[in-house]
């Protein structure tokens, strides 16, 4: 329990630091939301009016305290930039609530692909004594990790979309309209996300398993007459999964936090794209909440990984 308490306090401190850092970042970077909204047609009157409407005429610290007060009361504020109707701005909660499922489902599909493909691949690789397979997988996985993510996205669109016509690039279907169509479109960006991660995870698992195979207990197991399969799946894989869990955890944190580049390439209205456009239009309320969400996801996933370690490996809790 003490452990949880400590973790919770450190989570809160980190989130607070992140929110202050974001606020400061917005004070530092040039450009503000008012000139951004009014563009080249700005007049002093309209600027002053808008500044007042958005509460930007108040002192910096007061603005932060007001914002923080709202968030603590569960009011995430309203976007400076996106309209809900002629005279209301979109509440941040509603805006993000609409985009979050896109990112989460994208992450989920990508994760399933990663786990379902990389684990058997890694095991097969470690298991195999074929020099050819070893070299082939070695080069393929290295190659997959060497392509910049945006270009991988472009390649997926060209190959599956334009040449093979398996999907229509840009024809994203909202999950409100058709959930099946929504998932059908998400598969392709998920592939673009998954390819390098599959390569990384498979390599990582293979190396972990080969490391385990050199351990004394493996020799002992063999000498006791255990079959190769029994040793591989009963002992080696289980132990080798430990570091792999950490690794997959890092990947989860990364994809759940929003795949900015892939969302951009595939025109997906997820939170990564929302983050980019909100930064560029200086939509502070939206950026703050997104940054907090991302920080929370990253820290929370690391925490879960830590917990899994404790559960799977009792030695650690003793430390």
């Amino acid at each position: 329990m003490k452990y949880f308490g400590k973790k919770l306090v450190s989570l809160i401190i980190t989130l607070f630091m992140v929110s202050v850092a974001t606020f400061i970042a917005f004070q530092i970077i040039p450009g503000d939301v008012v000139t951004s909204i009014l563009g080249t047609e700005a007049t002093e009157e309209r600027e002053a009016q808008l500044r007042e409407e958005l509460g930007l005429d108040k002192p910096v610290v007061e603005r932060y305290v007001n914002w923080m007060g709202g968030v603590l009361k569960g009011d995430l504020g309203t976007s400076y930039r996106y309209s809900k109707s002629m005279n209301e701005m979109m509440p941040v909660a509603e805006l993000i609530g609409d985009k979050l499922p896109v990112t989460l489902w994208l992450a989920a599909i990508a994760l399933v692909l990663i786990i379902v493909i990389s684990i058997p691949l890694g095991v097969l690789w470690a298991h195999s004594s074929s020099k050819f397979l070893d070299a082939f997988l070695g080069v393929m996985t290295q190659g997959a990790m060497a392509v910049p993510s945006f270009f991988l996205g472009v390649l997926v669109i060209y190959i599956f979309g334009i040449v093979m016509k398996m999907f229509t690039p840009g024809s994203y279907i909202s999950y409100h309209t058709s959930f099946a169509g929504f998932l059908g479109y998400l598969i392709f960006p998920a592939i673009a996300i998954a390819i390098p991660k599959i390569a990384m995870t498979a390599r990582f698992l293979r190396n972990a398993m080969l490391g385990e195979l050199k351990q004394d207990y493996v020799r002992t197991a063999y000498s006791k007459g255990c079959s190769k399969n029994r040793v591989m799946y009963g002992h080696v894989l289980k132990n080798a999964m430990m570091p792999v869990i950490t690794f997959v955890g890092m990947i989860i944190a990364e994809v759940v936090a929003g795949s900015i580049v892939v969302e951009q390439v595939f025109s997906l209205p997820g939170i990564g794209r929302l983050l980019i456009s909100s930064i560029s239009t200086r939509d502070f309320p939206v950026v703050e909440i997104l940054v907090l969400y991302i920080a929370f996801v990253v820290i929370f996933v690391y925490f879960i990984v830590d917990m899994l370690y404790r559960v799977l490996d009792p030695r650690i809790s003793g430390r």
Binding site: I13, V18, Q142, A146, V147, F150, V291, I299
Partner: protein, 271 residues
Amino acid sequence: MKRKHHLKLNKYLVAGGIMTAVMVILAIVGTFWTPYSTTTMSAAEKFAAPSLHHIMGTDNFGRDIFSRVMKGLGTTMMVGTLVVVAAGAVGILVGALTGFFGGWIDEVMMRINDAINGFPSILLSLVVISVLGMGRQNVILALSIVFIPSFVRIVRSEYIRLRDMEFVNSARIMGVSKMRILFVHILPNILSVFSISMMIGFNNAILAESGMSYLGIGVQPPDASLGKMLSDAQGYMFTAPWYALSAGVTIVVLVLGISLLGEGIRRCSND
């Protein structure tokens, strides 16, 4: 016999070494000499297909792509190298201190580390670039900051693993100063792990720079990096496929070469 075994070249080492050497040579030559000017434009030669004159063809301004790839390679390798050197140096310093001493300094530094890690790297890059302006050195600075947490983590966990080892304890008993233990006794023991993470970091920095170029916050024209060229090229995939191909293949060869080299070194030392 043992020594010979150590020096035995494996296929990974050879392939990676050759690829990396070619890239390094191209980049070095490119800083001093290129077959054509990298900036002179020619309307007549716009989108010329690869030929004996222009082995990789020309781009939308009629500039020789091969010359630009040579120059871009230099920029890209410089970004990768400086980022891992800068982030690695900070990583060693902070990781060593926090891992070895622990206590409140560890607590504080790790929270800061978490905060940087949890902060979207794109926003971080953007802050650096908005404040200091775009351009090569600021891209390097932004990426260095983004890469620090992972180096700190690796170094810290190595120091935690080593700090209670026999050789450290005996050095302590012999009255060796703490700084000396940290950087003379322990440091050499983490170098093999660290050098592999430097190589991974180098590749990640190159890929991250491509992403930044795609998002428009990378190096500024007329400077070129491979990532910038690739992202420019993707608009002409049908008109000038050689453009994307030249930039794309060069990135892949560069990254692959370094990875294979790392893999080769790892296998070599494991055997």
